[in-house]
């Protein structure tokens, strides 16, 4: 049944995947890197190779720090298949992929999943209107196409939001306002972990610089208890309710939302790997040992897909997983592994502080209006979900059956965490006890023709 075989298959060509490939190729292991984008770099280093020619300065120093990694990856001798989507990994380690209309099954001795993170959904009324994008989406437009929106409003919290606003300002765009939802609740919970964060002074300094430049260049609105986006056929503005009771209305056609990043667990969950609820980061993550080995002995997870740590931590995690594999292939690198473990730990010292500071409060994690769409793909509203709960749905999968939330193309990436929290809140169970949608392949849609291209006549 299976076709080509590779010693190592790395899924994802972001910092984790690229760094892992450097280690495995250096050890002489046959390495294939698959990525669904057309160029390497993942999201954080999106379009980096092209931007090195025009060098838009506004993208900032940490973006260009990825250039060396990208160049080394291009030169390392790994087989690289861009524009290629993995839609399943079977329990016998067959990797089902599709590229340019043709599906194929390949096999590997070891698999490194480095598929990164996605943004935590931010279900506010009007968030599906044209003109509303995620902050990550706005930043990608800046990286990919040197395109930005004048007079946009940024809503939410978290390093990605502050960085993007900073990049917008440096690019000469007029930012209409930043509505920062970080509040006293977040500070109280994060402050005890500030000493750990001090172990990464450059990260903190960078953050402070962004926040200072933002304050000096645009209106920052804080202490809001609710936000909604107005407009009928497109976004027309933002209306925020202040904790003090007042209201502020801002006109704008471009609203960018962000309230943190979470591991993209769709491939790892559909593969049947064990996951745990990360209470501190309020999200799911695959269960792994310190090198990234999952509950499956042949599959490793590296980078933000295993737990949010940022680009540098992701690269180290890629190195760490790769060297664990290299060791199992008969070339132990004890010192290198120890070094990677320590560096990884070091990068993660800032997480307890950041995770708490930028965890949005429950009224932003959940929708505040009954008509707010929760499942975007199937247009299922908060009221619809509550009706399904009233019908007796007691878990995410029964709820999915009752009202279609989670049945769309995105397989819960935009709604899963919100639905889970709505159910937990209704039943009184913890987030861990409530569980999540049971994810199945295809992890991304694949056409019938592509599926049929995999095998011959119908088996009896």
């Amino acid at each position: 049944m299976a076709n080509r075989h590779f010693q190592i298959v790395i899924i994802g060509a972001g910092p984790a995947g690229m760094a892992a490939a450097l280690t495995t190729t250096k050890a002489g292991l046959e390495t294939l890197v698959i990525d669904d984008q057309k160029d390497s770099g993942g999201q954080v280093y999106r379009n980096l190779q092209a931007n090195r020619e025009t060098l838009p300065a506004y993208l900032g120093k940490s973006y260009y720090e990825g250039a060396e990694l990208g160049q080394s990856f291009a030169d390392c001798g790994a087989i690289y298949w861009p524009d290629c989507t993995v839609w399943q990994i079977t329990d016998t380690h067959e990797i089902a992929l599709v590229s340019r209309g043709k599906a194929e099954l390949i096999t590997a001795d070891y698999i490194i999943i480095a598929t990164g993170a996605i943004e935590r959904p931010m279900p506010v009324r009007g968030w599906t209107l044209p003109g509303v994008m995620s902050v990550g989406g706005a930043q990608t437009l800046l990286k990919q196409a040197a395109l930005g929106a004048d007079n946009a409003v940024f809503v939410g919290s978290g390093p990605l939001l502050y960085l993007t606003v900073w990049q917008y300002i440096k690019a000469g765009l007029a930012v209409r306002a930043v509505i920062d939802i970080t509040g006293a609740e977040q500070w109280r919970s994060a402050i005890p972990f500030a000493p750990l964060a001090l172990l990464q002074p450059d990260m903190l300094a960078m953050g402070r610089k962004w926040l200072r430049d933002i304050r000096q260049n645009t209106e920052v609105i804080k202490y809001v208890s609710a936000v909604e986006i107005t407009g009928q056929s497109q976004a027309r503005g933002v209306s925020c309710t202040l904790s003090s009771g007042g209201k502020i209305d801002i006109d704008s056609n471009h609203i960018f939302l962000h309230q943190g990043v979470v591991p993209n667990v769709n491939l790892t969950m559909a593969t049947g790997l064990e996951h745990q609820w990360d209470h501190q980061a309020h999200c799911w993550r695959p269960v792994t040992d310190v090198t990234g080995k999952s509950s499956d002995q042949q599959i490793y997870i590296a980078g933000d897909g295993g737990g949010i740590g940022g680009a540098k931590a992701a690269a180290i995690a890629g190195r760490l997983a790769a060297s664990a594999i290299v060791a199992r292939c008969g070339k132990p690198r004890f010192l290198a592994q120890l070094y990677y473990k320590l560096r990884h730990l070091h990068y993660l010292t800032i997480r307890p502080f950041l995770d708490r500071l930028y965890l949005p409060s429950v009224h932003f994690r959940l929708a505040q209006n009954d008509d707010t769409i929760i499942c975007r793909c199937e247009a299922v509203s908060k009221a619809d979900i509550n009706a399904a709960l009233a019908s007796g749905a007691s878990g995410p999968n029964q709820l999915k059956a009752f009202c279609r939330a989670g049945m769309g193309r995105c397989q819960g990436r935009s709604c899963g965490l919100v639905v889970q929290e709505m159910i937990a809140s209704h039943t009184g169970q913890s987030m861990a006890e409530t569980g999540y949608y049971r994810l199945r392949p295809p992890v991304k849609p694949i056409t019938l023709a592509e599926l049929a291209s995999l095998e011959g006549p119908w088996p009896d």
């Binding site: 984008q37 990550g136 006109d251 995105c410």
Partner: protein, 108 residues
């Protein structure tokens, strides 16, 4: 060009250069640059609505990384293409789509 009301619009933050290509969006001619991401080309032209998920449910691009499936358009006759994953080609014909994408069955 169809600038949206309210004064905010997408614009280039670097000097625009590169070979010009022609696209068609719902019958309207749109200029883009060779190698452009399709979402970027459409946003630059002021097009922010790409489809309707149902009556009165207009949608446009959201995540730019291929995981939200909002930016679906019909390209050269093929529906449900994620525009954020597509590079433009000269002569590309794009249509907004209104395939039955929402669960109109669900009661309030």
């Amino acid at each position: 060009m169809g600038f949206p009301k309210g004064g905010s619009m997408f614009k280039s933050t670097m000097p625009e250069n590169g070979k010009i290509v022609q696209l068609h969006f719902d019958g309207e001619a749109i200029t883009a640059f060779d190698g452009d991401n399709l979402v970027a080309a459409l946003l630059r032209a002021g097009k922010i609505q790409f489809r309707t998920a149902a009556k009165n449910d207009p949608r446009g691009p959201y995540c730019m990384m291929g995981i939200c499936f909002e930016c679906l358009v019909e390209i050269d006759g093929r529906p449900n293409q994620q525009a954020c994953q597509i590079i433009v080609r000269d002569g590309m014909t794009i249509h907004r789509q209104s395939t039955p994408d929402s669960s109109s069955q669900v009661s309030g």
